[in-house]
């Protein structure tokens, strides 16, 4: 899995590709934590190239969401979530913790 971070004025866009499972979730966690540790809490996660995500990946997103929303200082927004991933997130009620956008520009523009 490759992860890129692009810093914009009001938010950071994180893009990953491939599978996010127990072996790659720590990489995602590290990338998201690096943003939060820099004092930035508005994050767009571009999932257009993420084909698979297990619960280990979801927990990373949940923990990130908790940190970002604390003191209402920000939020992580998901973009272009693969329908299979979206369905499985919704199955355990986790879809409701995230705004999901179909368009990257719209997500960045929402901050």
């Amino acid at each position: 899995m490759d992860i890129s971070i692009t810093e914009y004025k009001r938010c950071d866009v994180v893009k990953a590709n491939g599978r996010i499972d127990s072996s790659t979730a720590p990489q995602l966690e590290e990338a998201l934590n690096s943003i939060i540790e820099a004092g930035r809490y508005k994050i767009v996660f571009d999932m257009s190239d993420v084909t698979f995500m297990s619960s280990k990946g979801w927990w990373v997103l949940i923990e990130t969401q908790k940190k970002c929303k604390r003191y209402k200082r920000g939020e992580i927004i998901l973009v272009k979530v693969n329908p299979n991933i979206r369905d499985s997130l919704n199955l355990v009620g986790m879809g409701s913790y995230f705004q999901m956008f179909d368009d990257l520009t719209a997500a960045v523009g929402s901050f």
Binding site: R19, S54, S55
Partner: protein, 154 residues
């Protein structure tokens, strides 16, 4: 790396059964994923069902490493796929510690994000994704988790 394939991957489409054995490490997960996805497609499952199988197997294998073995590199993971006219059967075997599936509570759904405890959805997902899940343990054959996906499941 231990890798034993009873039937070559290219034969998977005509095989009745195929087994993959890999070290119990997280880096084995994509390989097991690929293996069951191929099998699920060969069984004629639709792409939604193929993803369901991939996710359930990934969660199950991750649990084996985390809970049965208690960490990476302790023991092997064996994944056997077989198919019948109406269903795909996946059997996962490990020699870690046994557990009681009945004792695992379902996760709470609909709580606020701050009430969420990390972990505790993998097993629930496996049950939701598959049509049937059976678990057995014997000292000789270790832990055996059998997961069944019907071809015409909804």
């Amino acid at each position: 790396m231990t890798l034993r394939l009873q039937l070559a991957a290219s034969n998977v489409y005509t095989a009745l059964m195929s087994t993959l054995r890999l070290p119990g490490r997280f880096e084995s997960l994509p390989k097991i994923g690929e293996f069951v996805v191929k099998a699920a497609r060969a069984a004629g499952l639709d792409e939604r069902a193929v993803y369901a199988v991939e996710l359930a197997v990934d969660e199950a294998c991750s649990n084996i490493i985390d809970h049965a073995y208690g960490g990476e590199g302790i023991g092997d993971l064996e994944c056997e796929v077989s198919w019948q006219e109406d269903k795909l059967i996946i059997i996962l075997r490990d020699f870690g510690k046994p557990f009681d599936p009945e004792a695992i509570p379902d996760p709470k759904i609909g709580v606020s994000i701050d009430e969420l405890k990390p972990r505790g959805v993998g097993f629930f997902l496996m049950k939701k994704m598959m049509d049937e899940i059976r678990y057995s343990y014997t000292p000789e054959s270790g832990n055996t988790l059998t997961m069944i996906k019907q071809k015409l499941s909804t």
